[in-house]
Amino acid sequence: MIVELGHYALVLTFALTLIQSTVPLWGAVREDDRLMAIAPPVSIAMFFLVLISFAALTIAYVTSDFSVVNVWENSHSAKPMLFKITGVWGNHEGSLLLWVLILVFFGALVAYFGSNMPSPLRAATLAVQGWVTAGFVLFMLATSNPFNRIPSAPIEGNDLNPILQDIGLAIHPPLLYVGYVGFSITFSFAVAALILGRIDAAWARWVRPWTLLAWAFLTLGIAMGSYWAYYELGWGGWWFWDPVENASFMPWLAGTALLHSAIVMEKRDALKVWTVLLAIFTFSLSLLGTFLVRSGVLTSVHAFATDPARGVFILVLLCLFIGGSLSLYAWRAPLLKQGGLFSPISREGALVLNNLFLSAATAAVLVGTLYPLALDAITGEKISVGEPFFNLTFGPLMVPLLMAIPFGPVLAWKRGDLLAAAERLYAGFGIAILAVLFTFWLWGMERVLAPIGVGLGVWVMAGAICEIWTRVKPREVGLKRAFERLKGLPGAAWGTATAHFGVGVTVLGIVTASAFQDEYVQTMKPGDTVNLSGYAVTFDGVAPRRGANFIEDVGHFTVRQSGVVIAEMEPSKRLYTARQFPTTEAGIHTVGFSQIYLSMGEGRPNGAIDVRVYFKPLVTLIWIGCVIMAIGAVFSMADRRLRVGAPKPSAKRSPQPSATPAE
């Protein structure tokens, strides 16, 4: 009964989306308040219906109800409870249901928090969100229904792909989806504004918290996915330029650009046409990412659904949404009036520069991802575009961008003074130069690029600190007053500085972990020792061990530094017995921000084993930086000024909105 109730809730949601996508929009165009008024309650109703649906599927997983095809295909009664639950979205159908749940969740949030937005904008936004929901629910009901049943339930399920039985899977897709789907709201806002023909500074402010929220989750999702690949795949790499990774990275790049251009729009009423286009592109790239992953057009290590019928359906959806919104854009954009003017050297100018580089980088990733597919489809020739391509295109685009980051926040709006800005940053520059020299001293002169990369990372970090410093001016106003000013700084300022600092941290991690990594690949016999970066790693032997649903060969290694044992590491090779599926579990030991990474290969009859040992200096900074970026976004969201856009829902509308005397 529970399963069927979930199924019905999903069908009812589809019926509601059809109403949601038409009636409020009709109301917004006709300026009929009553028709517009249905949008928020219907949004909330849809959210609860999809929640019921999702809960029903989860219950089916938890109780191992194998009369549900989806559960039977992807679960097993002996699976630990955690993986029964994460298994709900560890497959095509379930992950789509999660996707739709997040979609309607965002709709409900807008309905709940948007009571101070102009009602036509809110109604139209929710209606557009309704279109997207309708498309995806129809996709599920037509091709990927998670509630299909088998009359007589099989005894045992097929189990989840062991590589996905990991805590990383529990966290990574939901985060990523919140990010992907979060951008649907900015898309809906943009399309709604185009339909209503009114886009201005106020619009940008209403969109901003949603963009920040989506961006923060996408950042965390990508970082999580990267770390998961790092320790689960056992290759020691944290980014492979795999099409699936690119699929999440492109919306991130475009979303980052959107975040910045929306600031210009909000403050100066400029870049409107561009911002709206970016909002459309960002979500289109999210949809494209979904298409690439779900349609199975990729030969990727990640893809877990391959079904041409589904692929065609998603392709049609993709064309409809992207094509439709771009046509609307082409039709409506010329009506938009351009706002304030600015000189090239100004905050706006810096943000435009940021947008140019980020867009170019997005384009580079897009080309690198799609070109092989297109070439294959057109000529049948098979090529692969790998790391060298991305290093050559993406790298040069990032360097000037990173150099420019610290300048942006210290430049004035409209007409800035580069010299004055540089003056505020000289300390940061000095620190960066010191960092370069220090790196040369530490690692010698052979590698020229790497110390400069280190300098770049430090420069971005120091620039962020400089920005806060110059805003507070502790030397001029004294410590006590400075502390007060520090507390008084708006959340957005903290957000900018924190997020930029995070970028610097990540860059530093990437550079050091790639350039100064120490790697040994060799066959080790028990008792053998390898020395790397001052650590002696001794192989003690291999022993078998039995886990819950796998057996494994565990290698035992002892790590010594100047003769003192600092760690014992146990990488292993596992065999999941139900599917006869082998995996490699890397051994990781963290020293400060650096890590020693061990992964085992094939064993030899004489007890020797192939071992890959890495020392990855400061590698954890890559992910720590991402977390700092996301924290920056949270600071920005906490900015009380944004609450003009999203304040508490007022039950009663006072004639003068309470937002005005906020300070």
Partner: protein, 380 residues
């Protein structure tokens, strides 16, 4: 029924989410809030400029310019508010929306659901399927239940004893061999288990007696030199190894004085004749078959094997009823009866066990747990 009530409730809630806002008449002037939302944003921006100026983040000239710009937007927003929009509430579109909510929405949703869904199908969680009455279930399910039990209690030797012949019957000799090996490991050696282990290994090996099987038969003979089954297979093994004379001797030894009516005799005789040996004098057939011979005779006959299992369960049953036993043994009996489909016997065993352990809380608890697990009593 509950399903339909809940479906109706959900549909009603969905329809209400449309009807309630439609019915709402607005007292306030709607144009007001729309425009003040814009104006509020610009007022806020003006304040930001002031604050930035206070902090010295922008110079007075820039602040002035910004103020002018924002003021211009504020004015424009205000003017839009004045020109205002009047809410054009048309009766006909309102009516249409209401009809959609009341009629079209439920009909569409229900129609689509009846097309896609399976409203009559109950949930079938694993626990429900595992505790359903034994007679309703296929052998597969019963085996799965025992397997589940053994996966949780791999040290339960009796469980392995019960499941092993069932595996043989289902044509899974590898699992049967594993089960017998486990039983022997946990409960100690017994000649019939060793012989059955050897048989399972032989069947798994396409009828060729391999080293592991031969060792099992030899262990069985060591325990019971007169046992038929191990001697039968050892004779077969000798023939397969090409030790013709030894094989002939072994067959003759086995057949001497045997009851010709027994099932294995024909096969033994034909083997012997193929090797060129002469069939010895057999018994007069007056002696009744003992249990050992029964077991050997039923090598490939499922009904007999079932009988054997039942016999073993009956033995356990009799022993517990007369001599009593541990709580675990009672639980095993209950499980065995459930597996065999003897629901009443299982319940009887449960009641007897409860009586036997009156006052012993711990034992009673474990018996109750077992009864729940095997579906003898309803789980609460």
């Amino acid at each position: 029924m509950i399903l339909w009530i809940l479906i109706a409730a959900m549909t009603a809630a969905a329809a209400l989410s449309i009807l309630v806002p439609l019915a709402h008449t607005r007292a306030e002037e709607p144009a007001e809030d729309v425009q003040t939302a814009d104006e509020a944003v610009y007022r806020q921006q003006l304040e930001e400029v002031e604050r930035d100026l206070d902090r010295g983040l922008i110079d007075p000239a820039a602040a002035e310019a910004a103020r002018t710009e924002i003021a211009r937007r504020l004015l424009a927003a205000h003017e839009r508010g004045q020109n205002g929009r009047k809410s054009a509430e048309s009766k006909s579109s309102l009516r249409t929306a209401q009809v959609i909510a009341v009629a079209v929405l439920p009909m569409f949703a229900l129609g689509l659901y009846l097309f896609l869904g399976a409203p009559g199908m109950p949930d079938q969680p694993l626990s429900a399927r595992m505790t359903a009455p034994a007679e309703d279930q296929s052998v597969d399910v019963l085996v799965a239940r025992v397997e589940k039990h053994l996966a949780e209690n791999p040290e339960d030797g009796q469980g392995w004893v019960v499941v092993a012949p069932v595996y043989m019957q289902l044509g899974k000799p590898e699992q049967a061999a594993q089960a017998y090996a486990n039983a022997i490991r946990l409960l100690g050696r017994r000649d019939d288990w060793e012989a059955n282990l050897g048989e399972a290994l032989t069947v798994a090996n396409d009828g060729i007696v391999n080293v592991a099987a031969r060792e099992a038969f030899e262990r069985a003979i060591a325990l019971e030199p007169e046992a038929i089954k191990p001697r039968f297979f050892l004779a077969l093994a000798l023939g397969q190894e090409g030790k013709t004379e030894a094989a002939i001797a072994a067959w003759q030894d086995l057949l001497e004085g045997a009851d010709p009516r027994e099932a294995w005799v024909a096969s033994a005789v034909s083997s012997l004749e193929r090797l060129g040996g002469t069939v010895p004098e057999m018994g007069d057939g007056l002696r009744g078959p003992d249990q050992e011979q029964m077991a050997a005779a039923s090598q490939m006959m499922p009904e007999d094997r079932q009988q054997m299992i039942e016999g073993m369960v009956a033995g356990l049953d009799a022993r517990l009823k007369s001599d009593g036993g541990s709580a675990d043994e009672w639980a095993q009996l209950m499980r065995a009866q459930v597996v065999l489909g003897n629901e009443d016997a299982a319940r009887e065993a449960f009641e007897l066990a409860q009586a036997a352990f009156e006052g012993d809380e711990e034992a009673l608890a474990s018996i109750n747990d077992a009864a729940r697990e095997f579906g003898i009593i309803k789980s609460n």
